[in-house]
Assembly symmetry: C2
Homo-oligomer: 139 residues x 2
C-alpha cells in the first residue's frame, strides 16, 4: 500500500529520474489531489513543462489518477491500487467551490454502471461539488 516514489516508478515500469521522484513525492505528501500549478508551486526547482511531461508519463503508465475539479482544472493523485486501476477503484471526490480543494472519499466508490455493452468504459469521474466543512464554518 505505502510505496516509496522509487517503488511506484519501478512498478509502473518508468525510469526513476530525479524529477519524476520529486513529483511523486510531492503527490504522496499531499493530503489531496494536486493540480499542475500546485505541483509547480510545491516543486519550485522544476519547470512547469517538466512536471507536465512527468504527469503525462505517469498517467500513461497508470501510476496516477487524473480528475477534473469543478473548474476544468485537472488534479492528480497517486493511484493506490497496486497494479491495475480498474474502473471500480474509482472513488468519489468532493470539490469545494469556495477554497477549490478536492477531498477524497476513499470509501465511496463510483457505483455500478450499467451502460450498453457497445460502450467501452475506461475510467469514471465522480465529482461531487459544493462547500466543504471548513468553508461553511468560515462563512
Amino acid at each position: 500500500m505505502h510505496h516509496t516514489a522509487a517503488e511506484i516508478l519501478e512498478n509502473a515500469d518508468i525510469k526513476p529520474t530525479p524529477n519524476r521522484i520529486l513529483v511523486i513525492r510531492s503527490l504522496l505528501a499531499a493530503e489531496s489531489p494536486l493540480s499542475l500549478l500546485e505541483l509547480e508551486k510545491d516543486l519550485q526547482t522544476l519547470d512547469r513543462s517538466s512536471i507536465s511531461r512527468v504527469l503525462a508519463l505517469l498517467l500513461e503508465h497508470g501510476a496516477v489518477h487524473a480528475m477534473e475539479d469543478g473548474r476544468g482544472i485537472t488534479k492528480y493523485e497517486i493511484c493506490h491500487s497496486d497494479h491495475h486501476c480498474s474502473v471500480s477503484d474509482m472513488h468519489a471526490h468532493f470539490y469545494c467551490e469556495k477554497c477549490n480543494r478536492v477531498f477524497c472519499f476513499e470509501d465511496i466508490n463510483a457505483p455500478e454502471i450499467n451502460i450498453p455493452d457497445a460502450f467501452q468504459v475506461r475510467s469514471v469521474n465522480f465529482m461531487i461539488k459544493g462547500i466543504c466543512p471548513d468553508c461553511r464554518q468560515a462563512q
Copy 2:
C-alpha cells in the same frame, strides 16, 4: 417536457433576447451537450463572448446543466426538469475519448451519495469515459 426556447426563458425568468433564443435553440437541437466553442461554430453570427454570457446567465437561473467532459472542457445541455434541478436529477454522461462527443444516459442517475453532513452538496458530475460504439467500430 418539450418547451420552446421562449418558454424555457420565461420559466427561468430571463428576458428573451434574440441571442438567448438562438443559444437555447441550438442546445435543444443538439443531440448531446455542447461546448462553448461548438455553440460558436453552430451560431456563426454570434460572438463567443455573447454566447459565454448567455450560458452564464442560463446557468445562474438553472435553465441549463453544465458538465466537464474528459479534457477540462465544459459542455452545456438544457435542463429538462421543469423547475428545480435537484442533485438527484443529475444523470450520467459518457465522454468518448476518440471523437470527444458526450452522450447522455438519462436513465442512469448519479447514485445516492452518503458523505458526511458537514459537506454541503450542490451538484454532482458523473462522467464515464471511454470509447463510444461508433468509434469502436471505426477502429
